[in-house]
Amino acid sequence: MALTTVRSTGIGSLPAISGSNLTSLNASNISSGTLNSARFSGGKVVQFIRAVESTTTYHTNTSNTVMFSGTITPTNSNNYILALLTITYEMYGNNSSSTGNANVRIIEGSSNVKADCEIKQSHSANDHVSRHIGGLSGYWQAGGTSELTINVATKLVSGGGRIGIFGSDSNTNASALTLMEIEA
């Protein structure tokens, strides 16, 4: 039987009874304790992972070269993975005809490209160096609950040049990959 009236005289708190019929509860009155995340509606961030490039690395490779990685294990295959890359990098020509033009990619596993951008510079002479900051993002359905390795990779468009990704060992704004699982 549901209560119809609660008399506050002489009592300091409600008894431990079901509040399923309670209405007009103002969330502003929840002043302590921890609200379970399951009470939030869809779209919430389930987990947050941050991976930072620790060592500044250069390469001259024309194939995907993993610079650093992060791992995330989805809790639900229907949820989404949001990958946000902030990258600080250097492009260098190495000679008068080569460039540091390269693709920057977010890759799930060894080959599943989720985001890709070709970065270009207009000069190629070997005493021209350019440094940049940039960003790239990918968003996709997890499709499973196994651990995912998310790689940040670069590849030169053509041989001869050089690209470098700054890490925390030489730059306070080290390249970093933020991974979030977003509830469907």
């Binding site: 250069y58 001259t60 190495n94």
Partner: protein, 57 residues
């Protein structure tokens, strides 16, 4: 052009389109650094050859 630039330029000049990865966050460019290169393509260069080319730049 710093010594690191000189090293990669010299490698490119002596052995065009070489593919390699190298970790470098500043500091001395020497034989130890050269020997730390992870070669993806085949390499026949030595530090002596590369250093001689660097000194021309």
């Amino acid at each position: 052009m710093n010594d690191f630039d000189k090293m990669t330029v010299s490698i490119e000049k002596l052995q065009p389109n070489s593919q390699y990865t190298i970790k470098y966050s500043g500091g001395t460019v020497d034989e130890n650094l050269f020997n730390s290169i992870n070669w993806v393509s085949s390499n026949s260069l030595t530090w002596t050859k590369v250093k001689a080319e660097m000194d021309k730049l």
